[in-house]
Symmetry: C2
Subunit: 206 residues, 2 copies
């Protein structure tokens, strides 16, 4: 047919489905939604889990402030409304990655239950969404204070800072809780991987 001219030919619509992509990849597409205080290790853990999944041949992508705040959500500020819209867009984007057969890992404080419930509700299937609570005492997060945000929040230089001047609503039905203040990163990574294996989402390493 190449080179032919047939303006009236039916342009048949092909469709690469999620299922076909998952077969190609050898694992399921899903969202690992890490939530927890600033400094609780969400982003670091997400990247470490990604590293392990990548070594196993999985397709992965981590969303965090670095690649979202200046791009897709560059027009948003930190009002309650903008924070909710921020989480909504991240959820919708992660959903498209799931459709693409990718393990999407998101690392945002996402302190409000209502917002997390909303993104959970966007998923096509319940098993597409795994909430991972990075449970780390405020004292430990504040002691680490890698970015100096807690010090500035205590001084009142940052308003509505989660844990200091704005609440963090502890997850009530997270699929997994990892104690990032007590355990080392390898331990936490293994907890996440074991959950994924037990659900048949990814294969055990050979």
């Amino acid at each position: 047919m190449t080179g032919g001219k047939s303006p009236n030919a039916v342009w048949h619509r092909a469709s690469v489905t999620r299922r076909r992509r998952e077969e190609q990849n050898g694992h399921r597409g899903l969202i690992l939604w890490f939530t927890g205080l600033s400094g609780s290790g969400k982003s670091t853990l997400a990247h470490a889990v990604e590293e392990e999944l990548h070594r196993r041949g999985c397709r992965t992508f981590v969303f965090d402030g670095d690649n979202v705040r200046h791009g897709l959500c560059g027009d948003l500020g930190f009002s309650d409304e903008d924070r909710a819209e921020n989480i909504r867009r991240i959820g919708q984007m992660a959903k498209l990655f799931v459709e693409a057969g990718v393990v999407a890992l998101t690392a945002f404080i996402s302190p409000f239950r209502a917002d997390r419930r909303r993104v959970r509700g966007m998923a096509d299937h319940a098993e597409d969404f795994i909430e991972v609570f990075c449970d780390c005492p405020l004292e430990v997060c504040e002691q680490r204070d890698v970015k100096g945000h807690y010090r500035r929040a205590r001084k009142g230089e940052i308003r509505d800072f989660t844990g200091i001047s704005s609440p963090y609503e502890t997850p009530e039905n997270a699929e997994l809780t990892v104690r990032t203040g007590e355990h080392d990163i390898e331990h936490c990574v293994q907890q996440v991987l074991q959950l994924l294996e037990s659900r048949g989402a990814v294969k055990s390493p050979r």
Copy 2:
């Protein structure tokens, strides 16, 4: 280290880079930006190109009205401002797919040069963005009128309809022009694939 407790251990930051993902996938991440009138075959062509790429083992994803308008851009209408924001978000999202090592195919009329220039400018590298102009005469698009939009636009039931009551700004420097009104779909698919091969973005079929 598994099971150890070391709250003060350094949580080393792992990083799966775009380069590593592209090596894993065996092809480059990039955006194929299809632009053209309603009914010019953008979405059909994008899906057909995706099908061929998928058969060759590439990682792909098509963005079109179906998966974007009700999700990520569900809050946007059709004002000039909202249309521009729509295109901006699609561009930012596609950029993240490129970072994930995926061939992102977008199928939107995107009638304005300024909007297309803006999304092109978002790309980290010039070769990440390939504009494909689906060049099909208005008469042919209107005759096809698969969705009945042209008929309604002529009656004035749809305002600001591209080609009827709103301009389509023909691309001046598209990387590729495919004559979707003259050639059959196989021919157009091959044109796109040959461009990708000639740029070393994907391998030729074995």
